[in-house]
């Protein structure tokens, strides 16, 4: 079990009821199926991992008259962890991530990135992370390479590391020759790739992604997932939001569930899978957390 004290609080972490396996009717013709890889996190938790993200009682609304977009959200992310934020459309996932990235101000609560307060020590906190927004906004009037150079300058990446990192990232994302083209000529998927490359050029301690897998081709998606595992194995942390339940189940150590701006549950996926290797996360989410109030 993790050492996080909040895990003992029943108000935050609900007792997970594992669905019992149902007897399946026998099909008349049985197809020969290849062995399925287990849909569970494939990396191990680092011992003595430090806290990289600490969110306490986050509350955010877009105007004084508007309802709260996020209410009392609290969670932590440690070194070597992949944490997913899951919820319906408009649940408050992107808002939470944007507050974390320092894009949006928030009314109440505290956010710390690698020990730095996002409001009081904004620049230091921001230099610890790389982020990819849900709309993959980039400077479309730059070429891919100019954009990467820009990001490298902003995050103060030394010259001798730039080419090395570029080669490493290109091996993962395989943008290839179009890196020299204007970003305005890129397809949706290519823009996503260049955004991810830009966010990783400084090898951040924390990588935040909003809907990272949308629009990626299957090959790149697999490469990104493998990269995520390798990245956290180095002691880095990844926090991402997604609708793709299988991806979340496969990648995340922990999942924060948000519904209508409120944190409703936090699941320790490693422990859950350790107890029940056949745990069907999709089924669980749709039955328990996926229901609207």
């Amino acid at each position: 079990m993790t050492n996080d004290p909040r895990f003992s609080q029943p108000s935050v972490v609900a007792v997970v009821q594992f669905p019992q396996p149902q007897p399946q009717p026998q099909p008349r013709i049985v197809m020969q199926q290849p062995p399925q890889p287990a849909s569970q996190p494939s990396h191990k938790r680092l011992p003595d991992a430090q806290e990289v993200v600490s969110v306490k009682g986050l509350c955010k609304r877009y105007s004084r008259k508007a309802p709260w977009a996020v209410t009392d959200v609290s969670f932590t992310c440690r070194e070597g962890e992949i944490v997913g934020i899951l919820g319906h459309n408009g649940a408050g996932k992107s808002t939470t991530l944007k507050c974390l990235e320092g894009m949006l101000p928030f009314e109440k609560g505290e956010i710390k990135i690698a020990g730095y307060d996002i409001r009081k020590q904004a620049e230091k906190a921001k230099s610890m992370m790389g982020f990819v927004t849900d709309n993959h906004a980039t400077f479309v009037k730059m070429t891919g390479l100019q954009y990467l150079n820009f990001m490298a300058d902003v995050y103060e990446v030394p010259t001798n590391l730039r080419l090395k990192r570029l080669k490493e990232l290109d091996a993962v994302f395989q943008l290839g020759k179009p890196i020299g083209n204007l970003i305005s000529s890129y397809s949706h998927g290519m823009r996503q790739k260049i955004c991810m490359m830009g966010s990783l050029i400084h090898h951040p301690k924390l990588w935040i992604l909003d809907e990272p897998m949308t629009g990626l081709d299957p090959r790149t998606m697999r490469a990104v997932q493998d990269f995520m595992h390798a990245y956290v194995a180095e002691g880095n942390t990844i926090l991402f939001s997604s609708h793709a339940l299988n991806t979340v189940a496969k990648l995340c150590d922990r999942v924060v569930l948000i519904r209508k701006g409120k944190q409703v549950n936090e699941l320790d996926m490693i422990n859950i899978y350790a107890q029940n290797p056949n745990f069907d996360f999709e089924e669980y989410f749709l039955r328990n957390e996926g229901q609207e109030e």
Partner: protein, 577 residues
């Protein structure tokens, strides 16, 4: 009940077949969609009342200026004698032909832009191509939308010209009737001409796309030519204001030339003939013939390019290969932001034109206006006020050039948030924008001062002072425009993030810039005149006043720019997205 529904459906299909497959209900729906979009701009929370009022005020000021000058010019021109006799009908005919030609030209230019937007760049084209809307229906809806836009321009422009003309020359009720009626016919002609030009324009546009340096040269050269033509008009205005010399300008030879040129200016000539009652039957036939040809041309050309443009939009554009494929050495955050800002402006043609080209051409504008203004002041007031005039013009054109800075924040769109999430201080973000504008404005101001000095209009010391004062006022202008835009940021919702419509912020910055230049320019001017009239030496008062106000403006603008900026920056969640 079911039978009735089926019959109605069959009836609709038959009607659609009869009308060549045009579904007029769909046309209505498409036009309604456009109307709703326009209406939504006036909804509470979206509508910028101050900006709207200022825009109306600016438009009103331009119309009023035209009415005053043109009204006066009509009187002078109508009295010009040829072969020793005044000829009101011929003069009216010439004057209206020239003005109608100018309106036709403006409408054709506007039509080319409108057609290009509606057919090639409108966001909804991609969606429509995937919807069950046939090409003919879409074509009719687009054509009607373009026609409506042109009709509004025609009604405003022709009514203004004809009303001003009628103010100085007696006209009958038929003139007013014809003036109103012709507005409905004219858009058909201008759309037809625009439809012929638009494919060629698109070819040129595609050729220049991503050839940014060439585009910059072409746009700047075109602007230079436009300014040169404007200077000719200015010298005409000067002649007009100087009174008698205009009569010498419009001598027999010039009048013969004007008459001959007007005889070729079709189709405006047809309209002028109709309005002045010259060969009405032939002119009507001619005008209707041109309108029919215009409809036919627009039908053929727009339909042929509509399908192709739909397919081209869905294919996307081809990428240009860049030779730059080396990773750069480490640079500062400030330099990175400065480069980003430059590339953003330089690689967006409309931004490049409205800032870089205008800034580069500004010295020419100052020179031409100084040339006209200096001789006017000497002739009208009998005083030498070249330094004061130069200060006024430098501040005025500097303010107009820096209007572009009113989009310094809005231009970034959602990327403003992305930059906010980067480890960059708020001062670096703002200063990178302001410093780029200052570099551009400094080039422009120094070039203006050097031009005035080289032309012998001011001395070296005065030129240096003018350059310095211009730069100081420009800083104040840029700082205020940037902060005001930050406080009222409105990000573009276009696909490419480009701002295509001017906001209320732009109008406010224009009005403030104009007021300030008139106040400062007027103050030093009036003091100089008063000093010379009352025979007291004002000495260095112009320098002290202009320099002092410039320094004060810098201090105030600097205070306004940075007032609670840190807090506002980190709390920023505007932009309207």
């Amino acid at each position: 009940m079911k039978d009735r529904k089926n019959k109605a459906a069959v009836g609709r299909k038959r009607t659609a077949r009869k009308t060549g497959g045009v579904n007029f209900r769909m046309v209505g729906a498409l036009l309604r969609k456009g109307r709703e979009e326009r209406r939504s701009m006036f909804k509470a929370g979206q509508f910028d009342l101050l900006g709207f009022l200022l825009r109306v005020l600016l438009a009103g000021a331009i119309v009023a200026l035209f009415v005053v000058f043109f009204g006066r010019f009509v009187g002078v021109y109508a009295a010009i004698k040829t072969a020793g006799k005044p000829d009101l009908v011929s003069r009216s005919n010439e004057l209206l032909t020239i003005l109608y030609s100018a309106i036709f030209l403006g409408m054709v230019v506007g039509g080319v832009g409108q057609l290009g937007r509606e057919l090639f760049t409108a966001d909804d084209m991609k969606l429509y191509s995937a919807m069950p809307i046939n090409a003919r229906t879409l074509f009719v809806a687009r054509l009607l939308s373009i026609y409506r836009g042109q009709l509004v321009i025609a009604l405003v422009a022709f009514t203004t010209v004809n009303a001003t003309f009628a103010w100085r020359v007696n006209v009958t009720a038929t003139f007013w009737l014809l003036s109103f009626g012709s507005c409905f016919l004219i858009p058909l002609i201008t759309i037809g001409i625009a439809a012929v030009i638009v494919p060629l324009f698109q070819v040129v546009k595609r050729f220049l796309k991503e050839r940014y340096i060439l585009m910059f040269i072409v746009l700047t050269a075109l602007l230079g030519v436009a300014i040169w033509l404007y200077s000719i008009i200015l010298s005409g205005v000067k002649q007009l204001l100087l009174g008698d010399s205009l009569k010498y300008f419009f001598n027999e030879k010039i009048m013969r030339g004007i008459g001959k040129a007007c005889s070729f200016l079709y189709p405006a000539r047809f309209l002028a003939d109709i309005m002045t009652g010259v060969r009405p039957l032939q002119s009507w036939l001619g005008l209707i013939g041109v309108a029919v040809a215009g409809i036919a041309l627009s039908m053929i050309i727009i339909r042929s390019i509509l399908t192709r443009s739909l397919q081209a939009r869905n294919q996307g554009s081809s990428a240009a290969a860049f030779r730059n494929s080396v990773i750069k050495g480490k640079g500062s955050k400030f330099a990175a932001l400065l480069k980003k800002e430059f590339l953003h402006i330089f690689r967006t043609p409309s931004y490049m034109f409205s800032y870089f080209s205008v800034a580069l051409i500004m010295p020419l504008m100052v020179y031409f206006c100084m040339d006209v203004g200096a001789s006017l002041v000497v002739n009208l007031v009998g005083l030498d006020c070249e330094l004061e005039l130069a200060i006024f013009l430098t501040i005025l054109f500097g303010a107009l050039t820096n209007v572009f800075c009113a989009t310094n924040i809005s231009r970034d769109g959602e990327m403003f948030y992305a930059v906010k999430a980067m480890p960059i201080g708020y001062k670096t973000v703002f200063l990178s924008k302001i410093v780029l504008c200052l570099i551009v404005t400094a080039i422009s101001q120094v070039a203006s001062a050097v031009t005035l000095c080289a032309a012998g209009m001011v001395g070296i010391a005065d030129a240096a002072f003018i350059g310095l004062v211009g730069l100081l006022f420009s800083f104040a202008n840029i700082a205020v425009a940037t902060r005001y835009d930050f406080n009222h940021a409105k990000f573009s919702t276009e696909d490419d993030g480009e701002i295509k419509e001017s906001s209320g912020t732009v109008s406010i910055v224009i009005v403030v810039g104009l007021l300030f230049s008139f106040l400062v320019g007027g103050l030093v001017f009036v003091l100089k005149i008063l000093g010379q009239l009352r025979s007291f030496e004002i000495g260095y008062l112009t320098y002290v006043l202009a320099g002092g106000i410039a320094l004060l403006a810098v201090a105030l603008a600097n205070f306004y720019l940075f007032f609670r900026l840190r807090k506002k920056y980190y709390e920023f969640s505007g932009g309207g997205i």
